[in-house]
Each structure stands twice: as structure tokens, then as C-alpha cells.
Symmetry: C2
Subunit: 454 residues, 2 copies
């Protein structure tokens, strides 16, 4: 039986380990975990910090015992610091036992990502936090408990920034949300970002777009935050959440080239260029199914699928990662916003002739109580009618996420927007329409952008 | 410009008319409507009778004016009574103007369905209702208003029977629901029907399965209902909802053969064997995409798609009806139950080697408040791993319907259950899991029924 070493205990690492044990129960699998928290739901941190998840232990997808009872040897608080690809060894550094060396037949690198630290003077001041790991989260929780801050400023209005704005408002803090771009959540189109911005403002959040923060200074018990033009605000704490970058120092030592945004290049089998070394998750380049090229798009969903693929191939399989579609969703107060596929400018850059059409529909028949409005933005290729992407915004209980997933399924199969009309989707007045909302949006695109015979 | 006649003003007829005007705005389109209610949402009748939809006018998908302003000539209260295919004429009978004759270049038959009237003695008694048309519905509403019945008995626990049990309970009536089969909603597997039955009982409904009603007699102001063995109950009103059958008397006169359950045979272009005559909706045989054969499965969703296909072809198009997948959903109190594709016995009859696996998952991460349990029953072919069908039961706000639609999309594309794991679906803790519930259910099927390398 081969001996398999996995570096990293989050989504990709765990998925690889479980897949290996599923296919080859007798394989020897060792997993190095840099901290004490294997297989935690990092995406759940905002809900822990909001108080909605009272105990952080609840964030564990699986307990350590469950992982161990699957037959995986777990070494906590242990980092890999060197790889020797020819010797098939890894040098480790454990908080408890210091340096060590482990042999491997096959290796899976799943070291994940770390927060981007923007060039802001004073970013190391007390009360300023990056948010990514369980450790970061404990530091924030401890600060909230001890200092009872009343005013928080969040730098970055991406998914985590928005969720934290929601979370800290939920806790009763006055929140300022600062974003360099002109609308919040710049990963969706501006009309949707604008709606989200209004929602945040309605909830009492001070939304400041088009603002770049330059400096944070300690002033007595407060932090003074300075930025673009006259931006100048005094708060009690600052969160910096402006994105993540791959953790690749280990791989870098091998002298091999790095890829997009410094991520580890892999093929669709999740193999690196090093013999017997696979990589998966937030540390790797990700194949994009619609672009047909590699990109950097670190998401838990993708990490799981890549880890599963790597795990299968490590024990002799021939799995291929199907590719990301860029499917994402976030809940924000009463709203959810989701996207999948390409936006207009992304499609144009990739050589398509896109057109994006926006429309509003009800989530179910308007005569049945509780109907919610959904806003769709559908992007399709005007030459072929191919669906390229979809964005949806609406009430979080109006199946926004699963409707985005229907578009993801369509994208997976390279469907035309016209063909989407042909699929037999479910209907009952409290939950949909004879043509589901996704089909009404498709029909609107066809009316405005397609040929009538589409 | 050709002159097109459409017989029927419900889902299929309207879809055909609108598609024709979309493609050929100058085409002459005349639509005969048997009653005064074109394009009404018949599926909404239970919600009108429950009181949730206060005004029946709200049930109109479109108003008469909207249809007319699309350029469609509508003749209300007019039936077609004879077709003369060679002469290309139709004899009509109008409530207002008596007999008439209309010429056509192309004809679309969309006469729909009518309730099956089971052989029960006394079914014509006052207080006994069939429920299908707007007219039926007004009769029930009038009876409810005038006689203020306290006890209702519903014969048939299919979709409409269940919705009416919910609706009349909502109105404060004591409801008895009688079903000949051993569980309610026999279109889903017994374990799910059993859960639905318990839910109905919890809501105070007297559920009587395995009971066939033989006789209804008037006894003073009440109705005495007698059935299997000792079944004997006195109630104030009876609803009979045991299914529907195609309305085909018009077509029958042409001497052509009828198909499954007496429905009009059509090809996938929705053309009948008569020259220039198309048919669509509840009156036709329906192509089943997984079975590859025709079946009878009258649903509004299907009627719309067939009507659209017929409409396109009537003006020279080459559209093909993609086929039904048998996708259906119903909301019942707090629950929704949906199905798509084949159930185990249906798959077996069609020559597959099916296995059905049941499992429970959460609709979203359990640590986030409000997680709901979903029950899945996944049917796949053990020889090929192909997905054959899925059934889902859970809280109606847990995206049961749209998750069923994800399986419908997979069925549409003949996916294997394994491939379902590869699709990039959305995730945020309040709305899903890193592997969505549909993928967890797929994984469970693979674990129990698939080969491990699937």
C-alpha cells in the first residue's frame, strides 16, 4: 500500500483524504494541519462573530475524531517547510516536536490561501485585524468581548466584507464599509452592487465606495482611519478583508514556475509538474470551464472538488477536474445575490460577442401570498446564443442560490439560452411559475438579444 | 399571411398564440375559448378556494385585453364541434351566436382535459363537486358561501386532493381525505407518502387510505359517503378529484386512432396525422425524454412548452418538443414534495436496472440557524450509473422545488450520478453546503449502489 502525505487540513486536504480512503481503505494517509483546526468551515466565521453560531466548535465540518476514525493520521500544529521531490520527503516543523522528516509515495499540497495585506500605513496597530483563519477569528472575538467596541470599519466590500458588515451590525456595532471600487461587491455588475449598497445603508451601515484607505493611526483608545481625499474617521476596530492569495512558499523552493496570481500550476488531474506531487484548493490555479483556461478563483466548493479529484488520482485513478464556473452566492440581511459564469466584460475579453439583459420577475405566482421580486442579469453570446453567465438578486428565501445553480448546470453543459426554455422544471403557484423565473429571464434575453427563431 | 385557428385558451393555446405572434407579428390568429376565462391559472384554484387569493380575477396569467393587444382574436364561450380536415374548416358553436364555420390554413387543437368521473353511485347529488374549470370552482365557492359547510370529504389524494385538503382546512372545515392506494400522493414513493400522511393528520385531517368510495347518498342536509368495508361518513360536501382525461371528441370524429389513455397522437413537432393540424397540452400524448416513448402526463408546464413548439411550427419553424421529465412539485402546509424522472418500478418496467437510495441531509449548514432536513430518494441505473429520477421532501422554503429542478437539468442531459458531483454549484452557509444537498444525496447513492470508482 502506498503512503500518502497531505499538506493541509482544510477543504481540499480533507476531500482528498476521504476520497483516498473511500477508494483504498488500506492506504496510509497522513495529514499535516498547520493549526489545531482541521476541516473547519472558514466560511462560517462571520456567523460565529455575529453571534448567530454561539460556539465555534459548531463550525467543524467534521471533528478530529471523525477524521481519525476514517483512518487518516492527523498531525496538528505541524507545517511542511521543505519538499525534496527526488527523495520523496518533506521536512516538517511541529509546534510540539520541532523539526522532522516524512517520506511519501504521493504528496498532495493543499496549503490554501492567506489574506492579502494591502499597503496601508499602521495596518499592524492594535485593533486592526485580518480575517481568514480560526486563529484570526478568535483574536477578533476576544477583542469584541474585552473591549466592547462600538464602531467598526471594514476595508473591502467583497463577500467577507459584506458578511462581516452584516455580522457586526447584528452585534449592535456601528459599521462603516469602505470599498475602493464604485459599488460594493464588485464581483457582480454595478446595478446589483448599487441595490446591495442601498440595502446596507437601510440597515444603518455607512457605505463609502470609491475610497482607498492609506493610513490607520492610534489616537488614544480609538483608531483614526484616513483615505482618499478627505476620508477621515475614528473607530474602535478595523477589519481588513481585501482578498486572498495562494500559500505557495513550499512549492516555490522547488524552483518551478508559478502561475496566475502566483498559484501552483496543475493539470486537470490536479498533478503538478513534480513527480508524484498533486495540489488542490486555494493554493492552485483553477481550470475555468467556460474560458477553457486557468484562473485564480479560491472557493471552498472548488477546493472540495479539486481535492476529491487529486485524492482519486493519487491512488491510480483517472479523474479530471471539471472546472470552475465561478458560481458564488452571498446572503446579506434579507437579500441573496448569486452569480455564475462570465460577466459581460469577462466574456468580451475572452473573445465572445456578449450581450447582458436585465429583467425582473416574481419568484412565484404573484397571486400567491409572499411573492418576492427577483432581478436577473443574463449574459449570452449574440453569435451563437450560448449562455455565458447569470447574476440573480432577490430575497434570500426566494431560491436565488438554487436558481443560480440551474444556470450553472446549463453552463456546465454549454447550453444555449434558447434550449433552457425546453427543460421540464417544476411548478406549483407557491414556489414558481409555469415557466420558471429562470426561463422568463432566458426568454427576456431572447427577446432583446436573440434572433426570434432562437 | 396565413390564417391560424387555435381551439382552446388555456396554457397550450395561449403559448402557441404568443409564439406565433412573436415570430410572425402579422399572422392572423383566432382563438376559441370554451368558457369566458382564457389563460387562467387552473393550478391556482385551491388557493382561491382557501381564501389565500381573495379575488378570482387575480388567477388570470394575462387579461383578455393583454391577449387581444398581442394581436390575437379571441372568441369566448365558443366551442369547436367539427373539423373538416380536407376543407380546412371548423364548425363552431357559440353560446351567443349559435353555429358558425371558420376557415384555417393551420389549426392547433388545445382542448385540454376534463376530470375523470369515477363510477360512484350518487356522484350527481347536490354538494358533490368535480374540480377542474373556473366554472367548477365558482360552484364550489358559491356552495361554501351559501351553505357554510363544516365537514368536507375529498376523494383522491393526488396533487389537487392534497392542495384542497390544505385549502379547506385553512378555511376552517373538518376534512376527510380518502385515497384508494395505501399512501397519499401515490405519484411519489410510499415512504414519502407516509410522511405526508402524518403531516395531514397533524393538521387535523382524517386521512383514510386503502379506501374506495362506492356510494354517496343525500340524508337530510348531509351527504352520507360509503366505501370499502365499513367506511361510512356523514359530511356536508364532497370533492371528487381522481385525475383527468384528455378532451378529444373533436379529433375522434376524424376517425384517426387515439393514443395512450385516449390522447391525441402527435410527433415531436406537435403535428397530428392530419395535414396542417397540430395539437398540444393536456389533450395530447406526451413524449417522455427518459423513456423515449409517449405517455400521458397532463401538466401546465408541459402544455406551455408544447404550445410554444406547435406555435413555432405552425408558422414554418422546425422546433421539436424536448420531452417531459415528469417534474412535479406540491406544497402542503409547511412541506413541499417534488419528483422528477422515473421511480424505481417505472425504471424497471422500462428495462433499466434501477436502485433507489434514500437519505437525509440539511438544506444548509446545520450551524446556521433554521436548517431544515431534506429527504432524498435517488434512483439510478446500476449498470451505467445514469441518473434516472429523484424525489425530495422537506420544508417548502428549503428550495425543494429548485433542487428537484437541478435533478431535472441533470436528467435532461442524461448525466450520470457521478458527474453530478463535478458541477460547480453555489455555497454560502445560510443557503447550502460546500457539496450541495443534491450532491450529498448523489454521493450517498454512489456509496450504496455505485462502483467506488464512479
Amino acid at each position: 500500500m502506498s503512503s500518502i502525505l497531505i499538506i493541509g487540513g482544510s477543504d481540499a486536504g480533507i476531500s482528498a483524504a476521504l476520497r483516498i480512503k473511500e477508494l483504498q481503505p488500506r492506504a496510509s494517509v497522513t495529514m499535516l494541519v498547520a493549526d489545531a483546526y482541521p476541516n473547519y468551515s472558514i466560511c462560517g466565521l462571520p456567523f460565529y462573530l455575529s453571534g448567530e453560531v454561539p460556539d465555534w466548535h459548531q463550525l467543524a465540518h467534521r471533528t478530529l475524531e471523525e477524521i481519525q476514525s476514517a483512518g487518516v493520521t492527523v498531525q496538528l500544529n505541524t507545517r511542511a517547510v521543505e519538499i525534496h521531490p527526488k527523495a520523496h520527503t518533506v521536512v516538517t516543523l511541529s509546534d510540539d516536536w520541532g523539526k522532522g522528516t516524512l517520506d511519501y509515495d504521493r504528496l498532495v499540497i493543499a496549503t490554501g490561501s492567506e489574506p492579502v495585506c494591502p499597503p496601508i500605513r499602521g495596518i499592524d496597530e492594535r485593533g486592526v485585524f485580518l480575517l481568514h483563519s480560526m486563529g484570526d477569528s478568535f483574536a477578533v472575538a476576544e477583542f469584541l468581548r474585552r473591549h466592547q467596541p462600538r464602531r467598526a470599519l471594514i476595508i473591502g466590500a467583497g463577500y467577507i466584507g459584506l458578511e462581516m458588515a452584516d455580522a457586526l451590525t447584528h452585534r449592535g456595532l456601528a459599521v462603516t464599509l469602505v470599498e475602493q471600487q464604485n459599488t460594493v461587491l464588485p464581483t457582480v455588475d454595478a446595478p446589483m452592487g448599487t441595490v446591495l449598497g442601498h440595502t446596507l445603508a437601510t440597515q444603518g451601515i455607512d457605505v463609502r465606495t470609491g475610497v482607498k484607505i492609506d493610513q490607520i493611526e492610534q489616537t488614544g483608545h480609538s483608531l483614526r482611519v484616513l483615505g482618499t481625499l478627505t476620508f477621515d474617521q475614528e473607530v474602535d476596530m478595523v477589519l481588513v478583508v481585501v482578498g486572498v492569495q495562494p500559500v505557495t512558499s513550499l512549492f516555490k523552493q522547488t524552483g518551478l514556475r508559478l502561475g496566475v496570481r502566483g498559484a501552483i500550476p496543475v493539470n486537470r488531474a490536479m498533478a503538478t509538474e513534480l513527480p508524484d506531487v498533486y495540489a488542490a484548493g486555494d493554493c492552485v490555479e483553477t481550470y475555468h470551464r467556460i474560458l477553457g483556461t486557468d484562473t485564480y478563483l479560491p472557493l471552498g466548493t472548488t477546493a472540495h472538488k479539486q481535492g476529491r479529484t487529486a485524492g482519486e488520482n493519487v491512488v491510480g485513478g483517472t479523474a479530471q477536474f471539471a472546472g470552475t464556473l465561478g458560481t458564488q452566492v452571498v446572503k446579506l440581511f434579507e437579500l441573496a445575490v448569486a452569480r455564475t459564469g462570465l460577466r459581460d466584460h469577462e466574456a468580451k475579453a475572452a473573445g465572445y460577442a456578449p450581450k447582458t439583459v436585465q429583467c425582473e420577475t416574481w419568484d412565484h405566482k404573484a397571486y400567491y401570498p409572499g411573492a418576492q421580486s427577483l432581478t436577473f442579469r443574463i449574459t449570452g453570446d449574440t453569435r451563437t446564443g450560448q449562455l455565458l453567465g447569470a447574476q440573480i438578486l432577490g430575497h434570500w428565501q426566494a431560491s436565488v442560490a438554487k436558481r443560480a445553480d440551474l444556470f450553472a448546470m446549463a453552463l456546465y453543459h454549454s447550453m444555449t439560452i434558447s434550449e433552457l426554455m425546453a427543460v421540464d422544471l417544476s411548478y406549483t403557484p407557491p414556489l414558481g411559475s409555469p415557466w420558471d423565473a429562470v426561463q422568463m429571464a432566458a426568454h427576456q434575453w431572447l427577446s432583446e438579444a436573440g434572433k426570434p427563431t432562437d
